[in-house]
Symmetry: C2
Subunit: 114 residues, 2 copies
Amino acid sequence: MQIKYKEKDYTCSFEFVLDIVSGKWKGLVLWHLSKKTMRYNEIHKILGKITQKMLTQTLRDLEKHKLISRKVYPVIPPKVEYTITKNGQKLIPIFHQLSKWGDEMAEEYAEIKK
Amino acid sequence: MQIKYKEKDYTCSFEFVLDIVSGKWKGLVLWHLSKKTMRYNEIHKILGKITQKMLTQTLRDLEKHKLISRKVYPVIPPKVEYTITKNGQKLIPIFHQLSKWGDEMAEEYAEIKK
DNA sequence: CCGTATCCTATTAGATACTG
DNA sequence: CAGTATCTAATAGGATACGG
């Protein structure tokens, strides 16, 4: 199935999915948001080493693809909450499977640090 | 779970998985090899626009992570076959789920070309 | 047939400083 | 608090030529 979205063309839906979740931080952010709604700084702290630029970019990407939603409270100081959407939530069980597969692979490699 | 493999560190197995399957071609090559064992040129033709450099690099990466195996026949002209491993095959059903999810997303976006 | 070896461009990510 | 704006570094990917 050919997919066109936001000016980009994909030859199959799997390619489309990779574009949505690949990159250094997107999967991780989604994973954390699947547990609870979080504020910008909260995500920033839990990820530790991400720069503000990358975090903002990651959040915007996820929002663009409707995997998370952004709610701005008109208060001072600013308050912004990020929540996973239903579509985003549907990815999580699949992420768990991938993780499990990764664990099994790692055990076979026997170079694990627990 | 901390994973270290081939000089690289991963903070979780999901990150490890992304490293294994992300990139422009790896998922696609694995997908095709899940259907049948193929020769180098056969893969090259079916992918169409991949350069030899990228194809070789992709195959080496997949082999390094033991998702495919490489068999060289000592004949002239050379013959090399690539086969998906059991570990690689385990990924395929998960890929199908991701694909299905991508299709559903695409339908919601309603910018599809079938 | 199945690759390597260079060289080059494009994309992604990080560092740092600044702002409503 | 939640971001932008620049600048730079690192990595991924592509073009082309050549070799056993």
